[in-house]
């Protein structure tokens, strides 16, 4: 297991820890008598550790289970098996009512700034709603002031409390969503593609805001994204997911400059670099075909159907996420080998 990799010197307990997390969604047929005809294996045995004040990036393509993982971590879905510990306390299978006090410590930031704010409520109502749900946090009389302080903190004018979401641009709405998530002073923010719906020039504003808030408030982030460049910028540690499993995990440089799993290499090689001088200079890996269905994933290693290194061994046995004999960081591949695909090599 990767458990203490690179963390040994910290001597700090993780603020959020997932162990062997599994989420299978049953597929049911029939109107009156429902029978289960299969399972979508959205998340299938994921281990994560998030340390205070750090950012864990989770990358992968659509269908890799990263959004389901986000929902599991914040308690919107309950895991089929496995455990989630928030500050050492198990929150994996709590009822809604018993989960409530824990929600103050872990919050979610959404991808779509247009659907994540109720169009019928004012900004003040939206950012103040957490206080109404958890009335013990801030006394009623101080709430208005607190809302204004939150708006100020995310870079919006406190005078805008009476405006409606549609009067704001996408980037500003994302700030409102962040203010709402911060209202209860959580320890952990799970950000599910927080900038992918924004224009390039606005993405940077929101990323910088998240980084500043992390420094000021000591927040820990789980930063889920399909954009590997953004994740490289913000994450201390990165987990690469494919079909419900983490295939490689390590620090930024380990993943981006020394990738060892074929999928990570293919993913990185596909990300275009905004530099015309690198055209044709980087190692190119173009994967064939699409991601297989998570309903009936390939046996053994799930990536083997698209992998150029696959052998019979890969179909028979599931590779574990190990550092291996000559490795530096955990990689779930029998034939893990470093290959630089992000920089010019030719």
């Amino acid at each position: 297991m990767n458990a203490e990799l690179g963390q040994a010197d910290r001597g700090v307990d993780p603020v959020l820890e997932a162990k062997d997390l599994v989420k299978h969604f049953p597929i049911q047929r029939g109107v009156v008598v429902k029978r289960t005809v299969g399972h979508v294996q959205a998340v299938d045995g994921v281990d994560l550790k998030l340390y205070p004040g750090k950012t864990l990036g989770v990358v992968g393509e659509s269908g890799c289970g990263k959004s389901t993982l986000a929902k599991l971590l914040v308690g919107l879905e309950s895991p089929t098996s496995g455990s989630i510990k928030l500050q050492g306390k198990e929150i994996g299978n709590l009822s809604n009512r018993r989960m409530r006090p824990f929600r103050r410590d872990i919050q979610l930031v959404f991808q779509d700034p247009y659907t994540s704010l109720n169009p019928r409520l004012t900004v003040g109502d939206i950012v103040g709603e957490p206080f109404e749900i958890h009335p013990e946090v801030v006394p009623r009389a101080k709430r208005a002031g607190e809302v204004k302080e939150l708006l100020d903190m995310v870079g919006l004018s406190p005078d805008h409390v009476n405006r409606y979401p549609h009067q704001f641009s996408g980037g500003q709405r994302q700030r409102i969503g962040i203010a709402r998530a911060l209202a209860l002073r959580p320890q952990v923010l799970v950000c599910d593609e927080p900038v992918s719906a924004l224009d390039v020039s606005i993405q940077g504003q929101v990323i910088n805001l998240l980084e500043r808030l992390q420094n000021e408030l000591g927040l820990a982030y789980v930063f889920i994204a399909h954009d590997l460049s953004v994740v490289r910028h913000i994450a201390d540690e990165v987990a690469v997911m494919y079909l419900g499993k983490v295939v490689e995990q390590g620090t930024g440089p380990e993943i981006y400059d020394h990738p060892r799993h074929p999928y990570t290499q293919a993913l990185l090689s596909a990300v275009p670099v905004p530099d015309p001088d690198l055209r044709g200079q980087r190692d190119e890996i173009v994967l064939q075909g699409d991601v297989p269905s998570p309903i009936d994933p390939p046996s053994g290693c799930r990536f083997r159907t698209r992998c150029w290194k696959a052998t019979d061994h890969c179909a028979e046995e599931v590779p574990s996420l190990d550092v291996g004999d000559n490795g530096t960081h955990p990689t779930a591949c029998f034939y893990a080998e470093e290959r630089d695909v992000t920089h010019a090599v030719k």
Binding site: F110, T115, P130, I133, H134, G155, Q167
Partner: protein
């Protein structure tokens, strides 16, 4: 430049969906005319004495079947009916039961429909199956037929002393078959809304189901429902009239437009067309006004048309 220099939002007028819709509707001449008609009808229902100084129950047999005067003047501006009652007074006083019935039926239908719809949509599962099947059953039975069945049970066994007693049974019958459309709309809107991110965000904050349903889902579900309310009121008025003509709606001696229509049919053939034409005209005008209003409201609330 730092990210702190987030600019001010566009300085548009602060507008909500409802005030926008109101503003759009205010500009349409057909809406203005429809509103005037409805105002007139509601005023008749609320303050009948403003429109006539005669008592519809004070009738003299010798005055029976006087046709209206040439310019609707004289003691009986709209003439008298077969029993010598002043027809203008009868018509005006018949408005209240009609309108009261229509409004109480719509309120009951909307409330029942909203609650069942939101419960079915939000919780899903067996509750949804139960409500949806009930919905299917009630939709298959036409409102008129269902009402006829129920009212036939109570025929001749109801008192007509007060307004409440007069309309109680038709109210029950019409409400029982009036909630489905609202339930369907609410359920659909709930299904659509409950997976939106802002509802998920509220869940994530630990909001209770009740809070999510009433604060986040209902305000959105109520929009499509509102748009069909005026048209449905028109429909209820027509159904009331149809039931009265069949002799099972509001029971004489109480009056309603339906009862008047029903009585008018007996005399219209004999040359006393006004006994039939006045209530019919009033009914059509009112239904038309409600329909116009509903149509405009639907347009004004439809986000796709903005």
């Amino acid at each position: 430049m730092s990210e702190l220099t987030a600019p001010t939002p566009t300085a548009e007028r602060q507008a909500s969906l409802w005030s926008d819709a109101f503003r759009t509707m205010r500009k349409r001449p057909d809406v203005i005319i429809a509103s005037l008609v409805l105002l007139f009808v509601f005023a008749m229902a609320a303050f009948p004495s403003l429109f006539t100084d005669q008592d519809p129950t004070v009738c003299f047999g010798r005055d029976a079947k006087q046709r209206p005067g040439t310019w609707f003047t004289g003691e009986h501006p709209l003439g008298t009916d077969a029993f010598g009652c002043d027809f203008a007074a009868t018509l005006v006083h018949g408005t209240r039961p009609t309108i009261a019935l229509a409004l109480s039926v719509i309120v009951a239908s909307v409330v029942v429909g909203l609650i069942l719809g939101i419960l079915a949509g939000y919780y899903g599962g067996w509750l949804d199956t139960l409500i949806s099947r009930a919905l299917d059953v009630f939709i298959v039975i036409p409102m008129l037929m269902g009402a006829v069945l129920i009212l036939s049970l109570f025929r001749g066994r109801v008192s007509t002393d007060t307004l409440a007693e007069t309309i109680a049974v038709p109210f029950l019958a019409l409400s029982l078959f009036g909630w489905m459309e609202f339930c369907r709309y609410t359920r659909a809107a709930t299904l659509e809304t409950k997976n939106l991110d802002y509802v998920v965000a509220a869940k994530c904050l630990g909001a209770s189901d009740r809070r999510i349903m009433f604060k986040h889902i209902l305000p959105n579900a109520i929009v499509p429902v509102t748009a069909v309310v005026p048209t449905t009121i028109g429909g209820i008025i027509v159904t009331e009239a149809a039931l009265a003509v069949l002799g099972i709606g509001v029971q004489p001696p109480a009056t309603s437009w339906g009862v008047l229509l029903s009585k008018g049919t007996e005399w219209a053939g004999g040359g006393y067309v006004y006994l039939f034409a006045w209530p019919l005209g009033l009914l059509i005008l009112t239904v038309f006004a409600f329909a116009t209003f509903g149509d405009a409201l639907r347009d004004a609330l439809d986000p796709k048309l903005r």
